[in-house]
């Protein structure tokens, strides 16, 4: 008796959670419910009551809203505020340009800054230093040669 009552309580709970369409319940609950319905008049009465509610609710129509979509489309939309970088890119490259320009331009930015930096800063390396190092290498190589023959 206790098991049957518990099953009915559970059935009522499932009915509340999923509605009267038992075939649409999760499989485990559906199989238990179908088994109970074979056996229990109370469960059948509960299901019938819920079916009647669902069927009556189904008779409630929603009226048409003619012109609503047009009204929505005609409403003024505020301009979009793009992030600063997007606004800069859009100013540099017009919106109708194919989309590849944006990532390509963004990818070139580090290169551009690298060139600027290298032209502006010496990073501790001077031209004279480079020239001196080149001459010292030259002299060293000359010193290694054997000068037996008179020129």
């Amino acid at each position: 008796m206790t098991d049957r009552l518990m099953a009915l309580t559970e059935f009522t709970n499932y009915l509340g959670r999923y509605g009267s369409r038992v075939d649409a319940w999760p499989p485990a609950e559906r199989d238990s419910a179908l088994a109970l319905l074979q056996d229990s008049n109370e469960a059948i009465q509960l299901l019938n009551a819920q079916t009647e509610v669902d069927s009556t609710l189904g008779q409630l129509a929603v009226p048409e809203f003619p012109g609503l979509e047009k009204r929505i489309l005609n409403q003024a939309l505020p301009p979009k505020k793009l992030p600063a970088l997007d606004r800069l890119i859009q100013w540099l490259i017009p919106h109708h340009t194919p989309g590849l320009w944006r990532p390509a331009s963004a990818a070139c930015l580090p290169l551009f800054f690298g060139i600027l930096l290298s032209n502006y800063y010496s990073f501790g390396i001077s031209e004279e230093q480079i020239a001196d190092e080149a001459w010292s290498d030259e002299l060293y190589i000359l010193a290694l040669n054997e000068y037996d023959q008179r020129l």
Binding site: N13, Q59, F65, L68, L73, Q75
Partner: protein, 171 residues
């Protein structure tokens, strides 16, 4: 939605065409009259435009997100205008073509309709989303920003009340 984020009005128009029906139906079921439904629906799509950057496609579907906006607007509206006198703002009930023409049948539908509109907003929204809008329990819980347990509790209570009303009417 990415195009809408970038300010593409053509994409916005497409989405409006696609979702106006569902959103207006939900708002009508929550509010019960034409004027409020149209205002809320219009505001929903305006917010879709202005808050498009808040939509995360990896977290929810667009229809779920739009319903959440509409739901929040409906709740704000109901709280502002007082939920208790909702029945005074009802339009005449619209019935489907297959509704029986008998007085008893129409009275039964009207009684149930008033019962639905008299439900607390949590129960009404749960019932509307799951029964009328055909969302799953999980989707409805996401829209309402509640746990699934809370949603199913509301659903169960709502359905129990409606069963009691129909059951009492038949006696």
């Amino acid at each position: 939605m990415q195009a809408v984020c970038e300010g593409n009005q053509s994409a916005y128009q497409t989405l409006v065409g696609r979702h106006t029906g569902a959103i207006s139906h939900y708002a009508y079921r929550m509010l019960g009259n034409h004027k409020d439904t149209e205002d809320i629906t219009q505001e929903t799509f305006l917010r879709m435009w202005t808050h498009s950057d808040k939509f995360k496609p990896n977290k929810s579907k667009l229809t779920t997100w739009l319903h959440r906006i509409a739901h929040n607007l409906c709740i704000d509206y109901l709280r502002k205008h007082g939920n208790t006198d909702l029945t005074e703002r009802f339009d005449e009930i619209a019935l489907t073509d297959d509704t029986s023409s008998t007085v008893d049948a129409k009275e039964k539908v009207e009684r149930l309709y008033k019962a639905v509109m008299g439900l607390p907003e949590g129960q009404r929204s749960a019932l509307t989303l799951c029964h009328f809008q055909n969302f799953s329990n999980q989707e409805a819980a996401d829209i309402l920003d509640v746990t699934i347990k809370a949603l199913e509790s509301n659903l169960t209570r709502a359905r129990q009340k409606l069963r009691d009303i129909v059951g009492n009417a038949d006696k």
